[in-house]
């Protein structure tokens, strides 16, 4: 049974469109491999941060909405931690369940 999650990523602004796309593709690959599915990919663009993070005052926010088996979330988060250019991330479980996807 897959649950819907949402992860907000704060990427380094220095990554550029190429680099950030690469990071997101790897994450998408991991979600796919673990039997999940990306539902939404919401790019907020480069925004001013409330406080400096790693001496940067701007950051690139990307919100991912996906379904994933609950035990695979920690695996995804581990990969996020290892990835370069991701300053911060926050995973939140969303209310509704996804009935559509069966494994």
């Amino acid at each position: 049974m897959n649950m819907t999650y949402e992860t907000l990523l704060l990427l380094s602004p220095e990554l550029g469109s190429e680099g950030s796309k690469e990071v997101l593709d790897t994450l998408a690959g991991i979600i796919d491999r673990d039997g999940g599915q990306i539902l939404k990919n919401d790019d907020w663009g480069i925004k001013e941060l409330a406080y400096p993070v790693k001496k940067q005052t701007r950051g690139h926010y990307v919100r991912l909405e996906y379904s994933l088996p609950p035990d695979k979330v920690s695996e995804l988060e581990r990969n996020i931690r290892n990835a370069d250019g991701i300053y911060k991330f926050l995973t939140v479980k969303l209310e509704q369940k996804t009935e559509a996807k069966e494994d």
């Binding site: 907000l8 400096p52 926010y61």
Partner: protein
């Protein structure tokens, strides 16, 4: 009564009154109404939010802070450093 010059307007919980308001850490503009200029969460005594929604609100503000969408404090250490140097 003598010591009570005016009756304060009855406060109400904004989230109970309007169920459409989505309490979410991404909704920064909304959360900004419930923190002070210095970034402190305003007590529900002041805002009139009900206990249930204040609990949710607090959680969302803290999530928002983690993601650098809201400030923890108006004077983050690096700012202070910049000013003194």
């Amino acid at each position: 009564m003598v010591f009570r010059k005016f009756a304060p307007r009855k406060k109400f919980c904004r989230f109970c009154a309007n169920k459409d308001i989505e309490l979410d850490y991404k909704n920064v503009d909304l959360l900004k109404d419930f923190i002070t200029d210095r970034g402190k969460i305003i007590a529900r005594r002041i805002t009139g939010t009900c206990a249930k929604h204040q609990r949710q609100l607090t959680g969302e503000i803290k999530k928002s802070r983690q993601m650098s969408l809201l400030i923890y404090t108006a004077t983050h250490s690096t700012h202070v450093h910049k000013r003194t140097v």
